[in-house]
């Protein structure tokens, strides 16, 4: 499986739309797209996961790195439109308590 990444540059708000699977093979690609965006002060990065149907723990690792980086550079990370399976991963690992996840826009199966 593959991961497609669409990048929308709106100045202070940077959007990443992901589609596909995030696993050990595709996580590096996501990291490459996501990490540089966190290094600009005052930026809000919105990651849309609506079309991500699978993510494993390697993907969580990338989001943790990104979160640590936002703390360092004073930027902001938001995840939106998570499918249930992906959302569950954030719940179990307790990462939902430290990463800003917008559940109001929930993706379907």
């Amino acid at each position: 499986m593959n991961l497609d990444i669409e990048w929308n540059d709106n100045g202070k708000t940077q959007g990443l739309k992901l589609a596909g699977e995030i696993d050990a093979y595709t996580a590096p690609k996501m990291k490459e797209a996501l990490l540089p965006l966190t290094k600009h002060e005052g930026t809000t990065i919105v990651v849309d996961l609506e079309r991500v149907n699978y993510m494993d723990s390697t993907g969580l690792g990338v989001f943790i790195s990104a979160l640590k980086s936002t703390k360092e550079y004073n930027s902001d990370l938001r995840l939106v439109a998570l499918q249930d399976r992906v959302r569950r991963l954030f719940d179990i690992t307790g990462l939902d308590s430290i990463i800003n996840i917008d559940s109001t826009v929930r993706g379907g199966k």
Partner: protein, 334 residues
């Protein structure tokens, strides 16, 4: 048909035969010749040289242009010959690396090995199978003076060698905590600080820690973002998810871990696992919790060790004997 012998005369005869008849047999023998050449580390330029010699013997009046062009080809092939030799060396090196990794994997097994203790009134079964050579899952049993049983099950995110190294760190930290501190939430808080200071930012560890008191049947437990286990209540003949809340180890040094407890009655069972079990994939589809519990239910009447092994065999078959993730499963039967 005899296997082809490597020598110019043979090659010349073969070439002669082929030029005359253009038959498939000669071409098949040419194939044998090239395989034999590789076995003897004959480089491409040498084969071209043999070809030139054979050609000159067959056609003493070979036009000088053809002769020069063959020499030109020979020069061109030198670098290919070198690349081939280099490839051979690298292949040998790869073999050495693989055997080193398998030695390391064996060492890891020895270093991290834990024996399942004999606890009166508790039947314990445990299995942990890596998807690759090095296991990123880990479980550990420890008993204290008053016969309490400490159970740890963990999953290092990130696979292979780095994960295995992190695992060793966890094991030695666990061993170094004094007995008086065998309190699940305290243990996880301490481990969290160890991991937070030592592991790179994209690596983290999930862990469940439980403390079982065989006299009262109480199991106290805390979880650092670990895949929730299941509690089987014999009285109700029902499985309950052991829902906990706690951040994975190594993300924030402020993390605290809530402690829960259940009391196990006769024939009750606790199932601990890693996501290698619950994220099991059959073709394009993921297995759901109900299916996992169904399989567990099928075998749980057996002695615990036999049961976990049979559950593993079941999932191994479902995944066509190709584990995507490390698989660890523990049964505690009262």
């Amino acid at each position: 048909m005899e296997p082809y012998k490597f020598d110019v005369n043979n090659y010349r005869n073969l070439l002669k035969k082929y030029i005359a008849s253009q038959d498939e047999t000669s071409l098949y023998q040419a194939e044998q010749f090239s395989k034999l050449s590789m076995q003897h580390n004959i480089s491409p330029e040498e084969i071209i040289n043999v070809h030139i010699q054979a050609l000159k013997e067959l056609y003493p009046d070979l036009p000088v242009e053809i002769d020069s062009s063959m020499n030109f080809l020979l020069e061109t092939m030198i670098s290919y010959g070198l690349a081939y030799q280099e490839f051979q060396t690298l292949r040998e090196k790869q073999g050495e690396l693989e055997s080193e990794i398998s030695i390391a994997a064996n060492m890891q097994q020895t270093l991290l090995s834990t024996t399942i203790p004999d606890i009166v009134g508790l039947d314990i079964g445990a299995i942990s199978v890596p998807s690759h050579q090095m296991n990123g899952d880990y479980y550990h049993f420890v008993t204290d003076e008053s016969n309490n049983l400490g159970i740890a099950i963990a999953d290092v995110i990130g696979k292979g060698i780095p994960a295995a190294l992190a695992m060793s760190m966890i094991k030695y930290s666990l061993d170094s905590f004094p007995e008086t501190m065998r309190n699940p939430s305290v243990i996880l808080e301490n481990l969290n600080r160890v991991v937070e200071q030592n592991v790179d930012t994209s690596m983290f560890i999930t862990m469940f820690y439980g403390l079982f008191n065989p006299e009262t049947g109480s199991l106290q437990f805390s979880s650092a973002g670990h895949e929730p286990g299941f509690y089987y209540c014999a009285d109700k003949d029902q499985f309950f998810e052991m829902t906990t809340k706690g951040l994975v180890l190594g993300v924030s040094d402020q993390a605290t871990y809530e402690q829960f407890d259940i009391t196990m009655e006769s024939d009750d069972m606790v199932v601990l696992l890693t996501d290698g079990v619950t994220e099991c994939r059959i073709g394009e589809r993921f297995i759901d919790t109900e299916e996992v519990l169904e399989v567990i239910r099928k075998y749980m009447h057996l002695p615990a060790q036999e049961a976990v092994e049979l559950v593993y065999r079941h999932f191994e078959r479902l995944q066509d004997f190709q584990l995507r993730d490390d698989f660890t499963l523990i049964f505690l039967k009262k």
